[in-house]
Symmetry: C2
Subunit: 215 residues, 2 copies
């Protein structure tokens, strides 16, 4: 195994090595599933000794959580970069959804699989609950601002249920997208927007929604 490691590799900074281990771990977890994935295969794929993987990132559960955290942070960054707070609420939601589905579409073997695995697994589910919580907060805030801009107010618990519905719907369509390699991410985002925004529309003004750049 060590024979495969190029000499120059040993001089790589810690952060770069960690990313290589995480790349290998995401690949192996996605392919094998959490339980069947072996630390040997991850170490082998990363071209690093197993004790080194443990030393850098810990045991399997910590390693999986680190993968999920890195992929989740990348996803959140992609969404945050796409949403501009000065835009109208529907444009913000559209850009956020499009960034979400583009990310999922571009990481069909990574993000969606990890997230799906972690969702039901008690030791791992905590990380998903945290990430979902962040998404739900973002959507709740978006709905709240949209209502405020229209001079309306709705009880926080109502907005929360609506945010759960929107996030759950997006997760489900992301599952669909992950399972359909031929499907187009932007198209999925548009469909999702038609479900999501028109639902939220009852709180707002219930008009048909179309992306501004679709004419």
């Amino acid at each position: 195994m060590l024979a495969r490691v190029p000499t120059s590799f040993k001089r790589l900074p810690r952060a770069v090595r960690e990313q290589q281990m995480l790349d290998a771990a995401v690949k192996v977890f996605s392919r094998r599933g959490y339980h069947a994935a072996s630390m040997d295969e991850i170490a082998d794929d990363a071209g690093i000794s197993k004790p080194m993987v443990y030393a850098y990132l810990g045991a399997k559960e910590e390693l999986f959580t680190a993968c999920l955290h890195r992929e989740g942070t990348r996803l959140m960054e992609a969404i945050a970069a796409a949403v501009e707070p000065d835009l109208p609420a529907d444009e913000q939601l559209w850009r956020g959804l499009r960034a979400f589905f583009r990310f999922v579409g571009a990481h069909r073997d990574g993000w969606a699989v990890l997230y799906r695995q972690a969702r039901g697994e008690p030791p791992l589910a905590g990380a998903v609950v945290t990430m979902r919580g962040r998404m739900i907060d973002v959507v709740t805030g978006l709905l709240e601002r949209a209502l405020a801009a229209r001079g309306r107010e709705v009880r926080a618990s109502e907005l929360e249920i609506m945010a759960y519905a929107l996030v759950g719907a997006s997760e489900s369509v992301a599952d669909w997208l992950a399972d359909h390699p031929e499907a187009d991410a932007d198209r999925a985002a548009t469909r999702m927007m038609n479900v999501a925004w028109l639902g939220a529309g009852q709180l707002l003004d219930g008009e048909l929604w179309r992306p501004a750049d679709a004419g």
Copy 2:
């Protein structure tokens, strides 16, 4: 342990014993999680010897799948009993959603927890995929008939994405409901309807939706 079993128990028919074992298993799986749940505790809770549990329902994975199957079938029965095919599509969806959330609300410790656990667990997830598939088929059919009744047609893949969104949104709101013991199931169903139906409304006619019995 056997001292706790009433004498009359031994004469119970197999089907009744199985239901008692499943009741115990649902309780223990919900409380402990799939991995931490022990067959000893399940047998003890059911007042039946562990070899007998294995003989009747198999090992832990089969037992969990049997729990999920029973709860899922009860849920489907509750939904089917609530939906009348002659009603308008929105009334059908409303009754289906209300039955769904009432079931989840009445089984906060059972169904939702089992379903959540199974979702991400490779050996168990198959049963959830099957059940989700049935729900998605039901919703797709509902949307299709609603469109046909309006003389409209939409590509099957579009309807499928919309059904994924609706089922995912319902699952997510069910999670919320399972976590909020004080929340009202009918209220959650109404909120969900407002998200779901108005989204589907773009394919239909986009009007505000209210339950017929709310005046």
